[in-house]
Subunit: 222 residues, 2 copies
């Protein structure tokens, strides 16, 4: 998932794999386990069934960028030629479906899967473009607010009249996703908490007290 400014996450956007002939197996991942590494041969493509994955890239000098978080229904592992171009780790215990990578190259064996992978790739491109806006054109506070808004829309659940959701990733992951620092993320969250927009029952869960104000903050409203 690309946590973006105007993301669209249609229901049932996944691959609907129950009727596909190219499913190879379901893979279970423990918290912290690695699904693949940058540079690994990309024999498979994956759909997240449950749990949450993290895709990262690292520059030679050690600077890290979190490319995306993989939530249920997301496709991860789009290859670059024959290799994976990111690391992929499980933030929580996860299950993924694995497909033969050939399904990407042509639709001979499974046209339905092939077409769906193409649609997933197009969604991915669109979501990444949204994310460009966030990385390039938002202040640190706006980035954090946008991040919370999108997570809320994607995985928030109502509880006592307020939307609530978990942050399975650490502050450093959020920072590396948003192109900022751990301290800046923490300060932004603290400010939102003190101004009453959100509550943080613990450091890994969020309650939206004033979603409208949060959205305005995310949009850079005056």
């Amino acid at each position: 998932m690309y946590v973006t400014t105007q993301s669209v996450h249609p229901q049932n956007a996944g691959l609907g794999t129950h009727d596909c002939r190219s499913v190879h197996r379901t893979i279970s991942l423990a918290k912290g386990a690695r699904l693949f590494c940058e540079g690994d041969s990309a024999d498979r493509v994956y759909e997240v069934q449950n749990g949450i994955l993290r895709l990262t890239r690292v520059l030679e000098n050690g600077r890290r960028q979190v490319i995306a978080f993989g939530y249920p229904g997301d496709i991860v592992g789009f290859p670059h030629f024959d290799c994976h171009n990111t690391d992929c780790d499980a933030l929580t215990p996860s299950k993924v479906l694995s497909f033969n990578r050939k399904a990407l190259d042509n639709g001979d064996t499974d046209p339905a899967l092939h077409a769906r992978l193409m649609q997933a790739a197009l969604r991915e491109i669109n979501a990444m473009q949204d994310h460009f806006m966030m990385l390039g054109r938002k202040s640190a506070t706006e980035k954090v607010a946008s991040f919370l808004c999108v997570l809320s829309a994607r995985v928030g659940v109502m509880n006592n009249g307020y939307t609530q959701f978990d942050l399975p990733m650490c502050r450093g992951d959020i920072a590396d996703f948003l192109g900022t620092t751990t301290e800046t993320v923490s300060r932004a969250l603290t400010r939102m908490r003190k101004s009453g927009m959100i509550a943080l029952p613990n450091s890994n869960s969020v309650i939206l007290r004033n979603p409208r104000a949060l959205q305005d903050l995310a949009d850079g409203a005056e």
Copy 2:
């Protein structure tokens, strides 16, 4: 094109459209002409034949992000559902080939084109991931240096022993592509010029005097 940190631009990465049955027509664009708008119905996908295109997105509050520059061989117009998700304008007089958008959805009518579009989408995803590193994890100077390095690799020509290329986009376009400002881009170029890394015969062309130093600057070498 996503001007990125480690872009790969294989020769003949285009669609090789001479043998495809789905070519609809060649479209000529004057400088400044618009190929499509964000929100337009996306009936076609395009391959740049010659000239240079600019893909942009704008936030409600007017902040703009240049998503990519389209150079010959690049595919532009990947749809978001049935709509274009960026504006696309010609920076120079350009020619593009147009394909029926159906070629994306399935390979029934033209399997070869369909497969190539999928490969183009995968390249696009990879290039965008590279660009994330640049937007999120590089300083302004590093961004500008990276931009010049990638342009050099893509379109530079040797001249009197030095690599040279044009900048068909204005400083503001470069800034909006890199997530910085016109002034910052200008200052970065001036510093590179004064330190002897580059020469600027005019504001729209660049000569690399010391490509190695420029690359080190782009990589954030100490």
